[in-house]
Each structure stands twice: as structure tokens, then as C-alpha cells.
Symmetry: C2
Subunit: 558 residues, 2 copies
Amino acid sequence: MTGKKKSAQASVEAMYRVFTVPEAPESTLSRIDQDISRNLAGFLQEHIVAVERDLSEVEKDFSEYNIPEKPVFVSEQAQFLLDKLVANSVHTASPAFIGHMTSALPYFMLPLSKIMIALNQNLVKTETSKAFTPMERQVLGMVHRLVYEEDGSFYRKWMHDPRHTLGVMCSGGTIANLTALWVARNRAFPAEGSFRGLHQEGLFRALKYYGHEGAAILVSSRGHYSLRKAADVLGLGRDALIAVETDDRNRIQPDALREKCLELQKQKIKIMAICGVAGTTETGNVDPLDAVADIAREFGAHFHVDAAWGGPTLFSRTHKHLLRGIEKADSVTFDAHKQLYVPMGAGLVVFKDPSLATAVEHHAQYIIRKGSRDLGSTTLEGSRPGMSMLIHSGLRILGREGYEILIDQGIEKARIFGEMIDEAPDFELVTEPELNILTYRYCPEDVQQALRVADELQAEKLNTCLNRITKFIQKIQRERGKAFVSRTRLEPAHYYRFPCIVFRVVLANPLTTREILAEILEEQRKLSGDEGISDEMTILHQMAAAVLKQHEPSARQA
Amino acid sequence: MTGKKKSAQASVEAMYRVFTVPEAPESTLSRIDQDISRNLAGFLQEHIVAVERDLSEVEKDFSEYNIPEKPVFVSEQAQFLLDKLVANSVHTASPAFIGHMTSALPYFMLPLSKIMIALNQNLVKTETSKAFTPMERQVLGMVHRLVYEEDGSFYRKWMHDPRHTLGVMCSGGTIANLTALWVARNRAFPAEGSFRGLHQEGLFRALKYYGHEGAAILVSSRGHYSLRKAADVLGLGRDALIAVETDDRNRIQPDALREKCLELQKQKIKIMAICGVAGTTETGNVDPLDAVADIAREFGAHFHVDAAWGGPTLFSRTHKHLLRGIEKADSVTFDAHKQLYVPMGAGLVVFKDPSLATAVEHHAQYIIRKGSRDLGSTTLEGSRPGMSMLIHSGLRILGREGYEILIDQGIEKARIFGEMIDEAPDFELVTEPELNILTYRYCPEDVQQALRVADELQAEKLNTCLNRITKFIQKIQRERGKAFVSRTRLEPAHYYRFPCIVFRVVLANPLTTREILAEILEEQRKLSGDEGISDEMTILHQMAAAVLKQHEPSARQA
């Protein structure tokens, strides 16, 4: 053998070993694996650096654009990932990180995920998933039952019927919402007479055939941005997503909704779908689903509920009443990687009617043939991993009671935190929690008094100043890395709908305690005295004083 | 404390433990975890039952539709999964399972996946992903460089630019293709004058404004079914996906494509996108991308290349010439869970022009704000896991050379298997491998002779009979569980385009040997003598004899 041939042979053998020889138990990667199994919280605590590095700094570690010519040792890559990636990742499981919808995971999810990845099934067809297909159908059936509470004969008939499906699994809520609206759109313009259906002939011909000028999706102004994205993807255009006014608790106003529908009808716009929100992303409020359902029925529209966040509230006997009317929905989105505590990448939509998804059915010769049990025939995605196994395990290992505890505790904790904010003179609760989400801001007592009497222009000035302070505190707190709240912008009615920046808090991590919440407030209070914002703070107090002086008598009354 | 309160307290504590107490090292789940780490191949071999159970039987284990009220022990669920789910899953990593596009995984992917899941990052925004964002941008940059080979200054300028992106990561090839065509559609009907763009006003108004009767996507008749699905989702309708004739090697015919474009133009149909295929799903062929690029340019159409399968051929110095012209594509789809050997759930699309994705840019107040580095502003999906970490590791640990070896060996193995089939008198190679995919069928020598001289009706009868036999052999071989080839339907030109069912083979598993391939053929040969198909076989031979008798002189010549 020549030297060149020998070296080629060695490379081939090295490549073969990568697929056949397990990592040695003492290797860097095996040690990490064991560390995580033994003590995940400790691993994350130890390896994620608290103090934030600027992203433009971090980018330097990821600036090479050439795929390396020669292989890098596994141990080298493992060490690189630990030092450069893990160290600068986000501690989403931290109980003091209450700004995300991502929380700590139950321990059992880790080894179960390993099984899932080791099996590497593909749910697009039974040929690459076998038992995973009925298992996924069962998960869809269980969530369907949670939402719609049909009787046993219903599930015995439909759950495993190859030509029907109770829902569709996907990578997350955005795809779930898109799938639901895809179904709604195709069903709104079905085949009839010489027209072979929107799915076949497209939106342009569909609107012409049915004599419409457009098609609309209605949702409250607090609806998730994925719905507008869906309107774009589906060819309706972003304008087709009609935002309806909310009441002072961020819930859609049924009267406004109905009026808007009548107006659209007059313009020959087809009311394609009405979406209710069960847990708004920013404020955790639930639309009056029952009333919305009635309006959807009145206008012959598909009724979709985006319960990506709030769906699991159905586990709670105490709070499920908030979602009354969800059982009237044609489709409901659930996010498993949120309050089902499954790792990132798992969402689903369930359909009231098991034949609904036929509106988007696809077949091919080499896959998902007609009459097969292949789940891929009605999914937006093609190849998909077996994430439903983790949902299956969550539902069984935690049980309804377990999830109920998690939901009830989250809502209770949000109530308590709301009270803490209310009682603190220098904080203002902006939206009270209905589920486990609330918003607030740092707002000194004198400014709160001033805001109570301020006219529109004065309120705008005070709020503009407060916005800068809120942004500053949120950013510095995040950078210091001990705690994290997120921020968003709301338009409170009592501040003349002026856009106010607020801290947003999601209380889904069962490990978050009252003490942690108190510390978060305390850190924010301290940051309000930071010199980086001292000029702003001086101006704020001066403005408040001026407003109070002008309105002295009424301020005293308030 | 009352009994009820005590029990409630106990439940709460149990729930808390699930999040804080690691699995004990001797628990069922920990043992599985360790088994997989120590010896994945052994674990799969031991736990996956070879002989297939009927799916209707398997369904019985997944027939409960109620979420259990009380929690089930982790060990009980682990055992259930082993016995009922894992046992009846598909051994996708088996070197004798050559019918899937899913193969064995490199060992290091397992512990790395565990890190990814433990970190539970969300790539939609930097607030929940920090270093994962630049890392993902780097991966996109590396694949971009592999495809487009721009120079260093290009990548230094664009790779980490917050207002641009070199591509979009997603859960798989279907979403990647959809994303590319979404971009293409929005760019085909941009804002102009009083028209605010398709993305805003929708397809109906876009076509009216631009004076088109429709919009079309053209691809060869061997294009992936996800493209037709995309035409449906995007509101164009499935009819808008125009299938263009292929030559006898399953490659698009540029002349036919050009003619079709001219025809559509006359009908005032906008040529929205032309898709080239780099690795057809069924036969592994590559379109003449260079010629297709020229036609796309001629008609001002977006040129997309679906390289979900064949993209990694670019790693091979020997075979990359097959993809010449791919660098002219506006967008290219790659599937990482195929020939990048990453676990299920990872695809991506790269864009030649870093500003292309702005056509689908979305923003919201609480997320992906304007000017942020958040990757979620141009992805179809919202929340997404950190799968790019696994691609990053694959690219570094295998290196270009490692992937080259995998690609070259797969193509070489397919060539060898093609020869084995050619040399076997009772098998017929239906499509020769160009990459690492081929199709064939069991076809006795006399039938092959008869087919050579048969007229159209006779060929149809012989092929109908062969179709039943191919289906039978494929099904029984799968059920016996030692080996697996898939099947599809092709319309070979030399059989008057009659639909022929064939075995389809994908040679991507580096552990598949020549001996294994010989055994697969041998098992199929034996199955051809199975009594379940003996009547069919008798008829086949009689038909062949009759054809040969009729054409005796010409048959002898052949």
C-alpha cells in the first residue's frame, strides 16, 4: 500500500469508528453526559456564565465560515461547546428567569429524550415509525378528549382510523396555528360545481368563483404574531388579519368583533376564521370564548382557539372555567414545550371534527399512500421526530393531577406576586394576572400620584420617561445575569392608550419561590438608583412634581 | 393538618421532586440511558423486535384516550415504553434497512443531543438563545459557503449582520422548501406604486395589480411532494405546481421546461419559481442545474434548488460536478437529518442574496423587535430548538473530508449494488444510480426477455403482474424484519410509461456492506418462491412464454 492509500484507508476507518465505537466513559463528552444525568441544575449553574457577554463579542467565536477540511477531535469540540456555547447560553431553567415561556424540565425528560433520539424515528409514515404512529394518535386523542370531552365511543371509532385524524403534531404553536388556518382557508372555499376547490385552483380563482373581494381572519389586538405571519404565508396578505379591540383586561370585545364582521361582510370579504386567544402571550388573558364561538357560528366562520399557552389550564378544576367555550372550537392549538413541560420543538393542533384535516390531505407514491395510516398525509411538515413520546410520558408520569398542581401553583404565585407589586409603593402593576402572567413597571409613588391626575399630554411625557427607565432596568438586570424579566409594550386605556413599556413575567417554573420574586423586585429597585439612569429619574420626579402642583386639589383627593 | 391537606401537600412535594431530584442511577430509566451510551447498536438490536406486529395489534396498547388522573411511576412508564413502543419501533440504524433516508447516527450525536435538550434554548430570539444565535448564523454561513463559495469579505460582512441572513433554519426540508417559495412568491409581487406588496395585500390583489391570471412553480415530474403542498399552502393551488417531463434518467428536460414557460407566459401566468432537484427522492438523480438556471434567468423567475438529499454531494471533490449550476440558485434546501447525519428534525435553506429573506420579515413588540439579532424574524416557525448545535458539531467533527468519505462510499456502494443486480439474471435494475439511490425489482430472466419484445398491451400485462409480486416481496421482507427496502412507482419510458412498482434503495448507512446487500437480494429471491405469490408467478411465466412464442425470431435476436 502506498502512503497515500494508507492514509485514505485510515480516514475511512476513522469515519467508520464514529458510527460504531461509543464514546469512552472517561471522555469529555461522556463526563458531560454523566454530569447532566446526575445533576442537571448543578451542571447549568456551573457552566452557564451569569454575567452577559456582549453578542458582538460572542460572535467572534463563531466567525469562521469555512467548514474545516480536517476532522476536529470530539473532545476538542466538546470543550469548545462548553467554553463558548454553553457558557454563553441562557439559563432558561433558572427559577429567577421569569421572563420566558421556557421553564425547567422534569428530570425524566432527559433520559427519555435520549431514547427518542437514539431511535431516530420519522413520524411522516409508519414505515419509519411503526408503534410511534399509534402512540402519537393516542396523544392527539388524549388532548382532544381534554378539550372536547367526547365520549368513549367517539375515541374508539376515530382515534386510530387511518382515514381520519383528531389532530396534527408539529414543531410548535406557529405551525399549529398555520395548519389550523390552512384547513380553515381550504374549507372556506371548497370544490363546488365547476370549481375544484381552493386547494386545487388557488385563492385567486376561489375568490372569483365565490364572488368575494377578500378573506379575513379576526383576532383580538393581543393575538400572537404568528397569526399575521399565517395570513401572509396563506396568500391572504397581512392586511387580512383584522385586529379587534380589547377591553381593559386584554380580552376581545364581542360587540366590536361582531360589528367588524358585519362591516367586512358588506365589503364582500369572506369571514374565513375567527380566533379566540386562551392565554395572550403578553398578559395571559383569556378571550370570552363562548361569546366568540357564537359569533363565529353566526357568520359561518371557522372558530380557532390559540391555546398555545393557556390550554393546559384545562387540567385545573379550579380554573378551567376560564376557558369555557373552547369545546366549541373547530380547532385548538396547544404548545407542548410550554406548559406541558416538554423540551423545545413540540406543538399540536386538535380538530373537533375528525374529517376536518382532509382539507389539506396530501399523498405521494413513495410515501403516505392513500389509505395508509401515515400521519404525514395531513401534516404541514414532512419528516418529523418522535416528540409525541415525550408528551405521552409527561401526560402519564405527571397525570392530570400533576399538571393541575403546576397550573394552580403558577396562577397562585402570579396572584401573590401581583399583591407584592401592589403593596410596594414604588412599583405599578400594569396588568393583573388572570392566568400566570402579569406585567408591571418601576414607578415611584409621586409619579403614580401624578399619573392619576395627569392630562393626556402630561401622561404621555411621564410615560415616555418611564419607558426609558423600564428599558434600562430590564436590560441591566438581564446583563447582570442573576434574574430575568422580559419586556413588552402595552397601550393601557387609563393612560390614553399611550404605548407603555412594561416588565412581563411568566410564572411557570415550579421552582420559583416568593423569596426569589422579592429579590427580583429588590434588584430592580436598586437599579432604579443606578447612575446610568439618574438624569432620567431626576427629570421624572420634576415632571411629577409639576403635574401634582398644577392639580393640587384633585391630587389630594385621589 | 387534615388528611386531605396532607395528601395535597404530598402531591405538591412529589411534583417538586420531579423537577429537582435526578433519576436514581439504578432506576430503569438510568439503566436505559447508560445502555444507550455504552452500546447503542446493542440496545437497538436487543430491544427492537424484528418480526413485525400488525399495526392494528399495536394500536391496542395505545387505545386509552383519558389522560390518567393519577401519576404513573417513572419506572412503570419506562418499562411500558421499552415493551410497547421501543420494541415495536423501526430499526432505522440497521445496516440492512436500506429503504429509508434515515440512517445510523455518529455516536457523538447522542451526548450532544442531551446537552442541547438540557439547555432547552429557544432560537426565536437572542433572549432565549444568546450564543446559540451566532452559532446558528455560523452554520448557515458555512453551508452558504459550501454552496456559493463567496469570498471571505462576503461572510465577514453578512454572516452576523442583524438586518440580514444567509439562510433560515427549520425542522426539515418541507418547511425549507415552503420558506424558499414563500420568499419567491412575495418577491414576485413586490410593493409598487399604490400596491403595498403581496405580503401585505394578498395574492388576489397582487395578481389583479400586476395583470396576471395566476402564478406557477415549475419542477420536474420527479420533484418532491412538498412542493405541491407548498403551492397549496401559499394559496397558489396545487394546479400551480407544473410538473415538467423528465428524460430517461429522471432529469428535467430543459427544452420541455422552456416550452412550458413560454406557454404559461402566453396564458398570463407569472413564472414565480423554477425548482431544480439535486437528488430526486425516488431515484437520486440531479437535474441539469446550469441549464435550468439559465431558463429561470430568462423568465425572471426565482431559481430554487431542492438539495434536501443531494446537497452534501458538494463535499465530494469527485462528484460535486454533478451539482454544477447550484451556485446560481437564489435559494437552496438542505436536510441536515439526512446526509449530514444529524438526528431527525433539522433542515435549512440558504439564500444567495443576504437580503432575500426580508420579503418574509416579521416583527412584534415582545419578540424579534426591529434591529434585533433575533433569528425568528425570518423563520416560518416561531419557537425552535438548538438543532444547529448538532449540525455545527457534525461539520467540525467529521470535517469536509469526513463527509466526503461518506458521500463517496455511498455512491460507490450504489454502483456496486447496481452491478450485483445487473449480473443477477432474475433481477432487473430499473434506474441506475447517479448518487446513492437506485431502484430495481425481481424479474425472472424469461420475463425480462419477454419485456424486451412485448408490445404495449403485453408489457402492461407483464408489468401489472410484476407489480403485484414486487409489492408482495417488499411487504413480506419488511414484516420479517431482517432487512428493508422501500418501494415506489415509476413510469419507465421503455415500458411505454406504464406505472411500474419498484424496490427503492438508499445507500447512506456507512455500515451497510456488500455481504448485507447480497443477503437482501437472496432473501428477495427466496420470497419470490413463497407460496403466497406462487399463483401470480405461474401466470407471469405463462404470459412471458406466450409473448416469447409470438415474437420468437426477434426474441432470439435480442
